[in-house]
């Protein structure tokens, strides 16, 4: 722990000359550059107001930011960590919360709590399968995901929930020129960046991802830290599901589908190490806005759905192939 801490401090203390150089080498930079390029090209092609494009993009990206942060924690704890259940968790939480809210503003808090709790429960089951039974993360989360899909399929047949209008307004509200929900997304990203980089827990998350054995000697229980990441991921996916259902007027069975790959893509785009050990929340935020605006751009240019899949898939593989190999780090 101590070695890691000093390294992190060294990185964050300002050094006069190498500051600019360091900013240029920051792993989140490509995501921000890509985001700005796509933002400007939308403005150029569509001739739409740049501010409107950005604020709309930031609102829609917030759902992805929330899911992506959960995914980032799971990937950062390493050990092949990946959460393939997020899309199913989102859909289930969307149905649950909308049934509880039933179109009433009084029930917002209960709906939010139940939606997030369902996600946390799902994450806890995944964590148990992975850390105590010893399943590979891929299989454990996928199995939980399919179980949730079946539950949702059966459960959704009997209920028609409506999101509360208050929450729906919250997701689209503007204070002056600023989108409220977009700012919520930025605040959430900042909070989790602080948790990851400045709290003892967050340092443990990265330490476990870098070298579980060393982290174990440094008074950390790797299995417990890894398990907590799956719980966070489940909870965040649940939260995103509740918001997304409110934003889109109600739950649907395909609600979370597109967020599965996208949640992994934003982690990769943001410069986090896919093998674990280094999570970058700011890059994730930029990556989420980038992906969202990429979809907008594809829609403006009337690109078919097939191309959008190809571009998203190829982007992940390309970014992975081009990023510096994490193995010879020390």
């Amino acid at each position: 722990m101590t070695a890691l801490d000093t390294r992190a401090e060294k990185r964050s203390t300002p050094r006069s000359r190498s500051d600019l150089f360091r900013a240029l080498k920051h792993p989140a930079l490509p995501a921000f550059v890509g985001m700005i390029v796509i933002w400007l090209s939308i403005g150029a092609i569509a001739g739409r107001g740049l501010w409107d494009t950005l604020s709309a993009g930031v609102i829609i990206a917030t759902f992805l930011v929330i899911v992506g942060i959960g995914q980032l924690f799971v990937i950062t704890v390493g050990n092949g960590g990946i959460d393939l259940s997020v899309s199913y968790v989102m859909t289930l939480s969307a149905f649950l919360s909308c049934q509880i809210m039933a179109g009433q503003d009084v029930n917002i808090a209960t709906g939010l709590i139940v939606g997030v709790a369902a996600g946390i429960a799902a994450g806890a089951i995944s964590a148990a399968l992975i850390e105590f039974v010893g399943m590979p993360p891929l299989v454990g989360t996928l199995a939980v995901g399919f179980a949730l899909q079946t539950v949702t399929l059966i459960y959704s047949g009997s209920v028609v929930g409506v999101a509360s209008p208050g929450l729906a307004q919250f997701t689209t509200a503007m204070i002056g020129p600023f989108p409220v929900f977009g700012i919520v997304g930025i605040v959430i990203a900042v909070v989790f960046a602080i948790i990851l980089k400045r709290t003892s827990y967050g340092r443990r998350v990265e330490a476990v991802g870098q070298k579980p054995v060393a982290a174990g000697f440094a008074n950390t229980r790797p299995a417990l830290i890894r398990a907590s990441a799956y719980v966070i991921s489940g909870g965040m996916a649940g939260l995103a599901g509740v918001f997304l259902a409110a934003y889109s007027g109600g739950p649907s069975l395909g609600l979370g589908t597109s967020y599965q790959l996208a949640s992994i893509a934003v982690v990769v785009l943001g410069g986090s190490l896919i093998a674990g050990g280094r999570g970058i929340v700011s890059g994730l935020w930029a990556g989420a806005v980038l992906l969202t605006m990429l979809t907008t751009l594809a829609n403006i240019t009337r690109l078919s759905g097939g191309w959008q899949f190809v571009i998203q898939g190829a982007l992940i593989v390309l970014v992975l192939a081009l990023t510096r190999n994490p193995i010879p780090r020390r």
Binding site: G80, I82, L129, V133, G134, M135, P136, L138, V139, L142, A143, F146, A147, Q149, T150, V151, L153, I154, L261, I264, A265, V268, I274, A275, S304, G305, G306, W307, Q308, F309, V310, I311, Q312, G313, A314, L315, I316, V317, L320, A321, N325, I327
Partner: protein, 331 residues
């Protein structure tokens, strides 16, 4: 995994030779028994299943799945996992149903290109040390996207010759039995009895050993990914012949089912530890289980969960067995 564990593993090997049960029955034994039991249950429910027509009707839809399981088995043998096999089979199906009838040369070139792309994916994963899960997941969207570009809505028409080939059914022995036997024997002999088969399995479990023995690990990876691509194509071929049309999403459920088939069939994620006979039997178990549930009248929405549950159960049981063995060994 080296010097310190050497004595332990030799003790384990000596023990397993002393125990004739473990020695005679490889990892393929349990799944084969399970497949037979499930089939027997189906026959008990509907005696007509045992007739040649019945066997054909029950097993034919499982043939594409079994090819998909074998494709996944090659990737698992390399120590990787393939999340893109479902979309890849869907793309193969679309190419066979749309491009092949219009332009034979272009269609064949596209199919060969797909196998080459799979091999290239293996190179990328091996050379850059990338996690196979994320690369194949990303590529699955590329396959799916291309398939949707070729065929936005289900349609197309599979050439008559392919349909006839796939539905080939001689009078005495059901065609599916012939296909299953031939494929199982060929793959099993290659993987478990040939020299290069041992190299391929070794590249997944002990790549350093394979490298020191003078074999190229990279080339082994390319071979395994190419084989997976070829078996993915075969799966798509059989799906096309059976459905007669194209659909990009046709095999999307195969991702989980193929992984489940390999694991139920005695494979392990550690790489190298796979069994061809086991994989075929595992595919049969997973597939027949779906049919059995249908026979009992379980709604199709439960089937995915049930098949996933079997996978979880097998892994839990295996973890339990490992744990018991460990406890015994330390005593």
């Amino acid at each position: 995994m080296t010097a310190t564990q050497q004595p332990q593993s030799t003790i384990g090997a000596r023990r397993s030779t002393r125990n004739p049960f473990v020695g005679a029955f490889g990892p393929w034994f349990l799944p084969t028994v399970a497949a037979i039991i499930i089939f027997a249950m189906m026959v008990a429910l509907r005696p007509l299943v045992a007739s040649p027509t019945g066997i054909n009707l029950v097993l034919a839809p499982l043939i594409p799945l079994i090819f998909a399981v074998l494709a996944q088995m090659f990737i698992v043998a390399a120590g990787d996992i393939d999340l893109g096999i479902g979309s890849f089979i869907g793309l193969a199906n679309v190419v066979i149903a749309v491009i092949l009838p219009q332009n034979l040369g272009l269609g064949l070139a596209a199919l060969v290109g797909m196998v080459l792309a799979y091999a290239a994916m293996g190179v990328l994963i091996a050379v850059r040390g990338l996690p196979s899960i994320i690369v194949t997941l990303g590529m699955s969207f590329v396959w799916l996207g291309i398939a949707i570009l070729i065929l936005p809505t289900p349609g197309g028409l599979v050439p008559e010759g392919i349909v006839a080939f796939v539905r080939f059914n001689p009078p005495v022995v059901p065609g599916v039995i012939i296909v299953l036997t031939v494929v199982t024997v060929v793959v099993a002999l290659f993987l478990h009895r040939s020299k290069y088969g041992a190299v391929l399995r070794g590249s997944g479990s002990n790549s350093e050993g394979v490298r020191r023995a003078g074999w190229s690990v990279l080339r082994a990876k390319i071979s395994l990914y190419s084989l997976a691509g070829i078996f993915g194509l075969l799966s798509g071929l059989y799906l096309s012949g059976q459905t007669g049309g194209g659909d990009p999403y046709i095999a999307s459920s195969y991702v989980l089912l193929s992984i489940a088939g390999v694991i139920v069939g005695g494979g392990s994620f550690k790489g190298g530890e796979v069994s061809a006979v086991g994989a075929v039997a595992g595919g049969l178990v997973i597939g027949l289980l779906g049919s059995l549930l249908q026979f009992i009248g379980v709604s199709s929405s439960f089937q995915a969960a049930a098949q996933g549950l079997v996978l979880v159960l097998v892994l839990v049981l295996r973890a339990l067995v490992n744990w018991i063995q460990k406890v015994r060994r330390t005593r």
